[in-house]
Every structure is written in structure tokens, then in C-alpha cells.
Amino acid sequence: MPTSFLWGLANPTRFMALSARILPWMAALSAVVTAAGLYLALFSSPADYQQGETVRIMYIHVPAAWLALALYAIMSLSALGTLVWRHPLADVSQKAAAPIGAAFTLLCLVTGSLWGKPMWGTWWVWDARLTSVLVLFLIYLGILALWRAIEDPGQAARAVAILTLVGFVNIPIVKFSVDWWNTLHQPASVIRMDGATIDASMLWPLFTMAIGLTLLALTLHMSGMRSEILARRARSLTLKAADRAAERQRPLPLSAGSAGAGSA
């Protein structure tokens, strides 16, 4: 049962033990798959008959775009976990996913721009797809800023969860913007009801890169969660030490007997 599995991980110690075992394997696997993807993308796949060599930018741009959306989806699920199910690790997951999602969104924007200049003749156009991805990036930045603005992790988690869920409205806009509006950006060519329109010689490098980068993102996410758990542990221990120090410095109340003797 996935639900019971998630609740099994509610105990941070159990999560730390499990993630410590999984993390090196995931890191190694993501490195191997990404290396294989890079080989396929740069050396094995052909140039496009129209785009030429610039098609190779797609092997980074498309997985980065998918991950930008996927990590936001993870954050939204975590936000539900915080607000609805009160899963103890939900906000840890949300906080760890935000910088990774922001980085992949930035990579998507940069590589898209680098593809756009030779293909469209411009670095940027304010069309629906590009603008909605820029909005996604700004939402990510807003979430990161909100985490930093509120000191108490519990309060910050609730505020960020609400902002994340409000921002989720942008996700279908990003996905369907090319269908809803007349955009310069081409419509979906891989995730379509009637199948991918890309040749297999280019589809396999794309999928391999996507799997490799997804594994990398999950590895980084897990590592980020571990760091956040340790950070909270350190913070609580510091607060506890400060409490103890204050307790020690507090003067002891005088007893009635000794007060009487003193006054006599």
C-alpha cells in the first residue's frame, strides 16, 4: 500500500536510515544513465534535417521542462501532505524540491532561449508557453523567498503550502498553452494522445536523458530532505541548549525560613 509506505516513512529516523541506503545507488544510477543519454544525444543521434545540430539542445531542454513541471507537482502533493494529511516529512519534501525545480526551470528557459535564437531568430518572445514558464520560475523564486522570510518552520510550511497550491493553477496553463493559444512554440510532440511524432533515433536519446535527469533530481531531492532534517535537528538542539543555559542562570527562590532568618 503506497499510503502505508508513506506513513511508514513518517518517522524521520526510518527515513534517514532508508535514504542513506538508497542514496548512493540512486546517485550512481543517475550518473550512468545520464552519461549514456549524453552519449546518445551527442554522438549516436543524427542531426535534424531542418534544425541541424541545434536539435541536440532539445535533449536538455525538454527533460528540464518536464522536471520543472514534475517537481512542482511533487511540491503540490507535499503541500497537500502538509495541509491535509499533516505528514511530518511533507514540508521537508516541499522545501527540498523548490530549489531543484527552480534550477531546472531556469535551465529550461536558458536552453530554450539558446535554441530560439538560431531557429526563430530571437532569444525571447512573449508567447503563452514561454511566458507561463517564466511565471513558473517566478513562483519558484517566491516560494524560496517565503521559506526564508518566516523563521518558524511550521508556520513557513503552511504559508508555503498555500502559495504552492495557488501556484499550481499555472501548471495546466504551461502544459496546454500551446493548444489554447496560437504560439510560436511548437505543440507537444512526445506526450500526445496519438503517440510521439519524433523519430525513434531521436526519441531514445530524449527518453534516456529524461530518465537520467529524473533520477538525478530525485537523488538531489532525497539528499535535500536529509539535509533539512539534520538542519532542524541542529536548530532544535541549539534552542534546547539555550533553554538549559537560561534555566541554570535563573536565581533560585529564597525559602520562607531563610528569608526570616535573614531579616532577624
Binding site: 506513513w7 511508514g8 513518517a10 518517522n11 524521520p12 529516523t13 527515513f15 534517514m16 536510515a17 542513506a20 542514496l23 551527442l42 549516436s44 541541424g52 545540430e53 541545434t54 541536440r56 539542445i57 536538455i60 531542454h61 528540464a64 494529511w85 499533516r86 505528514h87 511530518p88 521537508v92 530549489p99 534550477a103 531546472f104 531556469l106 535551465l107 536558458v110 536552453t111 539558446l114 535554441w115 535564437k117 538560431p118 518558524d152 518552520p153 511550521g154 538525478l216 538531489l220 539528499s223 535535500g224 536529509r226 539535509s227 532534517i229 539534520l230 538542519a231 532542524r232 535537528r233 541542529a234 536548530r235 532544535s236 538542539l237 541549539t238 534552542l239 534546547k240 541548549a241 533553554d243
Partner: protein, 110 residues
């Protein structure tokens, strides 16, 4: 195979360079962050606040489940304080976590 004499090769190389920088930055950040957190906990342990890192069997230190030895009592970090790590920031209870007992593992964080 990529043709290095292509007219737009500069854009392709720049895109892969950007990807390398972003990914290297993410990995570096994760490694530095993890080391900093462990060092902070080690400093607290050295001050005798509460925690000594004890690698659980079969796992290297740093990547281990963290046991906590607190005030002479051997409490597994956050095991007894169920949400100790997750909500340690609340500063409540054993190891700073929410020390309320959560039989079902849920956290009442209000």
C-alpha cells in the same frame, strides 16, 4: 555524431555548458549543505548539548541513521520523539522535536 563545424554549434555547446553549470551547482550545493549540517551537529555534540553521531551497523558515518545519546540516555534520534527531525524547529520536547506521542505516526503541529 555532433558536427563541430555546424553554423550553430556555439548555441549547442552553450546549452550543454549551461546544463553542466546548473547540474554541478545543484550537486555541489547538496554536498556542501550536507557537510555543513553534519558539522553543525558535531559541534553541538562536542559542546555536550545532546548528540553524538553513531553510525548504525553497516552504514558509513554521515550516511547513517543517526542515533542520539542524550544526557546519558540512549535515545534513537527522533525515534522516541517521533517527529523530532521533521519538526525539530519547533523546539519542543526530546531532541527538540514534537515530543507528543503520535501512536499513529501523525503530527499535531498546532
Amino acid at each position: 555524431m555532433i558536427a563541430l563545424d555546424s553554423p550553430h554549434i556555439g548555441f549547442v555547446l552553450a546549452a550543454y555548458m549551461a546544463a553542466a553549470i546548473v547540474i554541478a551547482g545543484l550537486v555541489l550545493r547538496a554536498v556542501i549543505d550536507s557537510r555543513m549540517r553534519n558539522r553543525a551537529l558535531d559541534i553541538l555534540a562536542a559542546r555536550g548539548v545532546a548528540r553524538h553521531r553513531v553510525p548504525s551497523s553497516g552504514h558509513p558515518e554521515g550516511a547513517s541513521a543517526v542515533r542520539t545519546i542524550s544526557d546519558g540516555r540512549d535515545t534513537v534520534g527522533s525515534e522516541s520523539s517521533a517527529q523530532g527531525a521533521g519538526y525539530a524547529g519547533r523546539g519542543e520536547g526530546e531532541e527538540g522535536g514534537t515530543a507528543r506521542s503520535h501512536d499513529d505516526g501523525r503530527s499535531d503541529r498546532r
